[in-house]
């Protein structure tokens, strides 16, 4: 029980990461692969945030003078994730546009039916 209490954030985030990787390996539909990529992205972001967490911590913002510096959580992963979310949206848009192009060219989104691919 103690293990669950300490590592529940890691378990959740790695659960999302593994679900994402499994979807990307097992599924053959391009849209489903993109969904797996998006779930993996969310899992990585959650993991980075939970690495910087401190028990009973507050957000690193000095909005009132009563807030003490020693209770604040780590600001570095939060800054990283802040940019990673926007990058994730941009990558998702690029992948979807490639999907549109793929469908226009081959008439299918099933990756096994596309003949010229090497894998």
């Amino acid at each position: 029980m103690d293990f669950l209490h300490n590592y529940i954030y890691y378990i959740g985030s790695f659960g999302l990461i593994f679900i994402g990787i499994f979807i990307m390996i097992a599924k053959r539909n391009y849209i489903k692969v993109i969904i797996g990529l998006s779930i993996l992205d969310t899992g990585v972001n959650l993991f980075l945030i939970s690495v910087g967490y401190i028990n009973n911590g507050t957000a690193p913002i000095f909005s009132k003078s009563a807030i003490e510096a020693k209770n604040m959580v780590d600001p570095v992963p939060q800054a990283l994730v802040l940019t990673a979310i926007v990058i994730g949206v941009a990558v998702l848009g690029l992948a979807l546009s490639l999907g549109i192009r793929l469908y226009k060219h081959y008439g299918t989104l099933n990756l096994q039916k596309i003949k010229e691919q090497k894998w």
């Binding site: 590592y7 890691y10 401190i54 913002i61 546009s97």
Partner: protein
Amino acid sequence: MRKIIGIILLIIIAWGIIISLQEIPFGTSRSEVADYYINKGIEETGAANIVTSVVVNYRGLDTLGEVTILFLAAIGLGAVLATIIRKEDRKTVKASLILSTGCKFLFPFVLLFGAYIFIHGHLTPGGGFQGGAIIASAFLLMYLGCYKEKRINETGIIISESLGGLVFVIIGLIGLAVGTHYFLNNFIPKGEFNTLLSAGIIPIIYVAIGFKVGSELSKIIELLLEES
């Protein structure tokens, strides 16, 4: 077969991760870098939000690279979709009066909310990226509500995007020339702590990032909606 291989691979990865994560205690201590940023951040940057001071000031070069990635993604999306032959006008049904009027009514307020988020980036949780995403959602609302009537002005998008990027780079280069000679040096006086006009260059750069991200994301939305 692929599923079995995938499950075996994931079990191996999970085993390695469990072994290595057991050594790291959860939620007890910060890294030295984080302690430095939290303790020295106020006097060095003047921003109440430490995350903002990390994003814009300490690690501003990374943010510049990140904005560049967003720009490249928008460019790549345009290049991939540009050669598709456009279909003739799809059969679209005009939205009802309530929907289109509601969208037109809400549009300026959503824009105002986005602007509020990125102007107050150094005081509250928020900033250029979040505000830009909210502005893009305002344009998405307009596209969904009244698709045929209102279009985004394309030159306006290009101008605001380029201006945002230019302001970021030029302010960073001025910081390189003035004072202690590093990129994004905070050369403007910091002002009174925890007020709107404080923290030197941070609000200016966040406004520029907000314009840039907002116009890029709405450009992505526009391309995907038009070409599909």
